[in-house]
């Protein structure tokens, strides 16, 4: 970690104001001098700290998490997506205060009206004259709720299984990983359809549970990989020598260092869960009415879609915005959590 690696395609001019050395950020208060720029190219180990002081640079100590936060905050696309996502979530959570209609309010005078500002039917009305904007907002709410439950459940399950397999190794590893392989070889969509058909009952919490029970394998493999490499590290040995027990080593010493891949994987799971849940509900095997869901809204709107395009277009755009934002945030997190990534990307 001592030498700054030069990424291809990156500018070859030395960075004068932001000098990255050993994971710290040196911000220059004084006027940058030409020789300071040289430091970046020959930044080597402890000498550089002294050199930095001599060059009139002020040293600011930052923890790893502060550093990660800084990198994430500077990721413009991810921050923009975060704002949009928070906006969408807040709108859907306070849906009943924002719209003047309820989810089931029927108005036979306003059947299949296109998007209009009259009466604030922003997204038009459906075949029963129900306000579609309200229905989409409630659908988003269900989508997010299901996706978050899936992500939390599958991440916890995958982390525990991966951690046990990677930390203890031996027959525990063998048993757990063969089990993981077995779940991975199942045709995901087919098993989901069969299981959701039988056990889902159109209930969002049950559907979420079924999704979670099939989604944990990816995280389990990632966590196992990280644990396999980290358990050999000196600091784990030191902790053992100091008398720490297995749970303490797993949760206090190794798990914090595995948080990066876990968090990135979790965001990807949220996006995936939204897409899969929508597909299941669209096919009629996921969440069923009266519970609002974006997939079943689209499937209901399918009958009138040739004349009433808004019934299909708006819920789909809602899904796209959610997934797009979450993927961009995941991308930003991946860059921010990667300790080898020094450059702050736009």
């Amino acid at each position: 970690m001592t030498e700054r690696t030069r990424q291809p395609g990156q500018s070859t001019e030395p960075d004068v104001t932001k000098v990255d050395l050993d994971g710290g950020v040196y911000s220059s208060r004084a006027e940058p001098r030409a020789d300071v720029g040289m430091v970046t190219d020959f930044a080597l180990g402890a000498d550089s700290t002294a050199l930095a002081y001599e060059s009139g640079l002020e040293l600011k100590a930052r923890s790893q998490w502060a550093y990660i936060r800084r990198r994430f905050l500077r990721h413009r696309l991810a921050m923009g997506s975060l704002f949009v996502l928070i906006g969408v979530i807040l709108t859907s959570v306070f849906a009943s205060h924002i719209t003047s209609y309820t989810y089931t309010e029927i108005d036979f005078n306003l059947i299949l009206k296109g998007p209009t500002t009259a009466g604030h039917h922003w997204f038009g009305t459906d075949f029963l004259g129900r306000d579609y904007f309200t229905r989409v907002l409630f659908g988003i709410r269900t989508s997010i709720r299901v996706a978050v439950i899936v992500a939390l459940l599958s991440t916890s399950l995958g982390t525990v299984i991966g951690a046990l397999a990677g930390y203890f190794g031996g027959w525990i590893d063998n048993l757990l990983m063969r089990f993981t392989d077995l779940v991975l070889t199942l045709p995901l969509l087919a098993v989901l359809l069969v299981a959701a058909n039988k056990f889902g009952g159109g209930n969002p919490y049950r559907v979420a549970l079924i999704l979670a029970l099939l989604f944990w394998t990816g995280i389990a493999r990632v966590v196992r990989g990280v644990f396999l490499s980290l358990r050999e590290k000196e600091y784990v040995e030191a902790a053992k020598a100091a008398g720490a027990g297995d749970p303490r080593i797993i949760f206090r010493h190794i798990l914090p260092n595995a948080m990066g891949p876990i968090i990135v994987n979790m965001t990807l799971t949220v996006a995936n869960a939204i897409l899969i849940e929508a597909a299941l509900s669209f096919l009629g095997f996921g969440i069923k009415p009266p519970t609002p869901a974006l997939g079943s809204l689209i499937s209901d709107g399918q009958n009138e879609m040739q004349t009433a395009w808004w019934l299909v277009v708006f819920p789909g755009i809602a899904i796209m915005i959610l997934v797009l934002c979450i993927n961009f945030i995941g991308d930003g997190l991946r860059d921010a959590l990667d300790p080898t990534q020094r450059r702050v990307r736009a």
């Binding site: 087919a190 096919l283 796209m320």
Partner: protein, 324 residues
Amino acid sequence: MLTYIVRRLLYAIPVLAVSSFLIFVFVSTTTDPLEAIKMNPRASRHSIQLVERKHHLDKPVIERYGYWVRDVFTRQFGTTILTDRPIFPDIRRVLGNTIQLVIAAELLTLLLAIGIGVYSAIRQYSVFDYAATTLSFLGLAIPTFWLGLIFQIIFVNVFVNWHVRIFYVAGLSSINPGHGLHFYMDRVQHLVLPVLTLAIIGIAGYSRFMRASMLEVVNADYVRTARAKGLVERRVILKHAFRNALIPLMTLAAIDFGTFFGGAVITETVFGLDGMGLYFINSLNAGETYNIMAWLLITATMVVIFNLVADVILGFLDPRIRLD
């Protein structure tokens, strides 16, 4: 090489046997083909029992698995439970349709994704690269079924308003498709939209993959060596970088291809294509245990075979990997 292939195939047999047993238990305990009939007051208990006895539904699940295995090998997957319809002719028909769909989609996806990925990698951080990245993020966020529906809305409205039939939005053939060239034109008009739907989503993922793998190769030492020797840039890219960058994508494509035999469940449902995916959905809705099992067995076998194909391809293309 040959012994490797034979050993892998032999190893696949117990894997398929175990997973088919587990799936059989799962499917036969969760589906009941006679559910609707049992609720029908006009169906006598006697006739229900007759059907149950004929298809061994009254036996314990392990025994039923035995009967099913026998049917698979001696009676071509047996017959459906409710209608006594032979399963194999149906499966053969839908498999043929699905293969037309997925081969077309996969070829289109690979061609475009490789082009986009390679060009993005060579011109990293260019306008094209940013545009391709943005579009692929968008492509990965689009729900497949929604994209299909949007295509249907557009092309139906084109037909209704301007009376131009560009592409059909459902089915595989018109009622009277004609012969020879007319038949093929008709089939192409039917397949374009589902193929596009599958390809757009596929290109989004594959082009990112190709870009990453190309970037890795472009920065490799041997590419620098090739440049240092004074080779023309085009030759460096095409002969030294591109060929090696293609290897991971080929492996991925082979593995994905195996899963395609199960059909594109969502796309086929949206476009009403008489393929494997729609067959599965219909069987599931009818609760036909043996149809579902036939579908699962064929899909699983294809996945196993194409995983092997992927490994063999990798062994051929990358001499550092030795299969034995």
